[in-house]
């Protein structure tokens, strides 16, 4: 953790969760995975969420990413209580405010690298809006892919790209709308160490330039060490990280 990292509690959180519980029905009994989680992500903050497998990290990440509804509790994104919004509004919020980077890249195999990067704009905009903004989006996408060393790969499909290249395309996709939050779920989990390192460098570099809040969900201690703040999830509860 960098020595000058401090909790910026004086500023409103860009993403927060209060008393979030989540339970699943397994057979005829309820299994509670999250037991009232409180969580805050400050603007521009780099936060690592670590913890052992099965602690509920992924469940929390999906709830924070507005992909899964908590059984109880609230999730507030940019001042809006996300689960009180309509499905349409919540989808729009997710589209504009959150960029996802997945462990398995999750690119659409039928689209080129450039088209994959443009996908958030295609999803979030009507045909008319997209046509009007297309040049701007394409320029932004091309510039990012240039910056990420993929100039020659714009027209390649995911199957023609290496793992590192795919993850860089996925990163560019997450950043197309310049979202205030990027959620990265084990972004280097599927890459060799050197490739993973290059992807992380890009991610940190972009974060420094764009100042988005970056939430890592990771098992990687070295990555967690590099984050400004770190929280640990144990048995469905989030704790501040404390060195043993």
């Amino acid at each position: 953790m960098s020595p000058d990292a401090v909790l910026r509690l004086d500023r409103p959180a860009v993403l927060s969760a209060r008393g979030v519980k989540k339970s699943f029905r397994v057979g005829d009994r309820e299994l509670e995975v999250l037991h009232g989680v409180d969580f805050t992500l400050q603007p521009g903050e780099i936060l690592a969420l670590t913890g052992p497998s099965g602690a509920g990290k992924s469940t929390l990440l999906h709830i924070l990413g507005l992909l899964d509804r908590p059984t109880s509790g609230t999730v507030t994104l940019d001042g809006e209580s996300a689960w009180e919004l309509s499905g349409e509004d919540r989808a729009r919020l997710r589209n504009r405010k959150i960029g996802f980077v997945f462990q398995f890249y999750h690119l659409i195999s039928e689209l080129t690298a450039l088209e994959n990067v443009l996908l958030p704009a295609m999803v979030g905009e009507s045909a008319g809006e997209f046509r009007a903004n297309r040049e701007r989006h394409e320029n932004a996408a091309r510039k990012m892919l240039d910056d990420f060393g993929l100039t020659e790969r714009l027209a390649h499909r995911p199957a023609q790209l290496s793992g590192g290249e795919r993850q860089r395309v996925a990163l560019a996709r997450a950043l197309l709308y310049d979202p205030p939050i990027v959620i990265a779920d084990e972004p280097t989990g599927n890459l060799d160490r050197a490739t993973g390192e290059r992807v992380l460098e890009l991610l940190f570099r972009e974060q420094a330039a764009r100042r988005f809040s970056l939430l890592f969900v990771t098992h990687d201690e070295r990555l967690a060490e590099r984050c400004e703040r770190r929280v640990v999830m144990v048995d469905g509860v989030v704790h501040p990280y404390a060195v043993a």
Binding site: L67, E110, L111, M122, A127
Partner: protein, 457 residues
């Protein structure tokens, strides 16, 4: 925006989608082609049938009743009926006819050998005909008989002068008493193996007022030539003579059996003219008022036309099954696709797509299937329907198999009428069918849990 773009990409990158497209294409194309041919067949048959018939037939019941010792009760000549018919607004022309049934036998046959002919079932069946006595001038004005005389025969031989069909045929030199002329249907002419100038004897039974019994009678005619209506039934079973000749021969009280009426605009005026005819003829006590006394040409051929209409409906139903099968394949392909693309569904949801958007994405794939299939199918089907005749000839020539036997149908070419409304209905039907079948997998995609999808690798 992603829905149309991504669905198109999915369509192009997955070759199995071609099955759906080709299925829709075949269904739409076949439906348009077959329905166009059936419609053409129906219209051609209507035109052919109508050509020798008139719009209405007036058949005064008293004329057809069993011989009445006290006379007919109506004038034996058609003049009064004709006068009334022609006075009705909307009637273009009218003509009397005298229709009688009997057999035709080669020249020289007499009453004695009628028994012989009758005892041979095959011959009697083949030679049984409808002999129609006409007044040439008014017949030409009323029915399509003059056209039938001019149409190129397939098995017969045209009369020497179509304007005077019962004139003496070239080369006929009366030996003693001049015999009246007969004009045979094209197929009948071929079947009897006669030539212009040959003698033919008409054998029938007539009522003998003296003995008050039915007695055999015959009359010899000279073959003047043939006519061709393209209506198989008529061309095979009918012969024309002059009405006066037939009436004189039969010696019945009545000198006509029908008055044929042609309207200026049948489609518009038919019901009104029928009502007026009935009312005025009843007033004049020329008919009894039975429904069968005034019938239209459609009533006359109701069975034939109804059968073709039924066949058209049946063909449409059967061919629609191709479309249904095509839509089933779209359903199956989309169902597989939804399972395969669950990860994409999760990604799209993470990127901000709503369940409705996901559903529309998969519906769009079916939409493209239907669009590409239906448009190409409609173009191909219409083109084939228009070019069916050269196509059939090419196929027949190439494969050496006669697909359309022109001698059976009496059409010179395969009839085909492309109705734009039908084409539109078929194309829209294909769309509706494809979308209905696609709705189930699309709905399943929309309900898919994005988290499940994202975990899947």
């Amino acid at each position: 925006m992603f829905r149309s773009f991504l669905s198109w990409r999915y369509l192009l990158h997955r070759r199995t989608n071609l099955i759906g497209i080709v299925g829709v294409l075949l269904g739409v194309g076949a439906l348009i082609l077959i329905l166009s041919i059936m419609t053409g067949f129906l219209e051609q048959t209507r035109a052919s049938v109508r050509g020798t018939l008139a719009d209405f037939f007036v058949r005064p019941a008293p004329l057809l009743a069993a011989p009445d010792p006290e006379g007919l009760g109506v004038p034996p000549e058609p003049d009064e009926v004709l006068r009334i018919v022609r006075s009705i607004d909307g009637v273009r022309a009218a003509t009397p006819q005298y229709t009688w049934y009997g057999m035709l036998a080669p020249g020289g046959a007499d009453t004695a050998n009628a028994t012989e002919i009758l005892s041979r079932p095959l011959d009697s069946q083949q030679n049984a005909i409808e002999l129609v006595g006409i007044d040439v001038a008014s017949e030409f004005e009323t029915t399509g008989f003059d056209d039938a005389l001019r149409l190129t025969p397939t098995r017969g031989f045209r009369v020497a002068d179509p304007d005077a069909p019962f004139a003496r045929p070239p080369g006929y030199r009366p030996d003693g008493l001049e015999k009246p002329r007969i004009v045979l249907g094209d197929a009948l002419y071929g079947r009897l193996r006669v030539q212009r100038g040959d003698e033919l004897t008409f054998l029938t039974v007539v009522f003998d007022p003296e003995s008050k019994t039915l007695v055999g009678s015959n009359k010899t005619f000279i073959v003047a030539g043939s006519f061709r209506t393209k209506d198989n039934e008529v061309d095979a079973r009918r012969a024309y003579v002059e009405r006066e000749v037939l009436a004189d021969f039969l010696r019945n009280d009545a000198r006509y059996t029908d008055v044929l009426v042609m309207l200026a605009d049948y489609d518009q005026d038919a019901p009104r003219v029928r009502d007026e005819l009935r009312a005025k003829l009843l007033d004049a006590k020329l008919i009894d008022g039975q429904p069968a006394e005034i019938i239209s040409w459609e009533d006359m051929r109701a069975v034939l036309l109804g059968a073709i209409r039924n066949e058209r409906v049946l063909m449409a139903i059967m061919l629609s099954l191709i479309l249904v099968v095509a839509c089933f394949s779209i359903f199956a392909i989309l169902s597989m696709m939804v399972t395969e693309k669950r990860r994409d569904i999760g990604v799209l949801t993470a990127l901000g797509a709503t369940p409705r958007g996901v559903m529309q994405l998969f519906l769009m794939i079916a939409f493209w299937d239907a669009l590409v299939g239906a448009v190409i199918g409609a173009i191909l089907g219409t083109w084939m329907a228009i070019k069916i005749d050269p196509l059939e000839q090419w196929l027949s020539k190439t494969f050496g198999v006669q697909i359309f036997d022109r001698t059976i149908y009496y059409f010179d070419e395969i009839p085909s009428v492309v109705e734009p409304l039908w084409v539109a209905v078929i194309v829209l039907g294909a769309f509706a069918c494809a979308l209905v079948f696609a709705a189930i997998p699309a709905w399943r995609a929309a309900r898919m849990d994005p988290l499940e999808a994202l975990r899947y690798e």
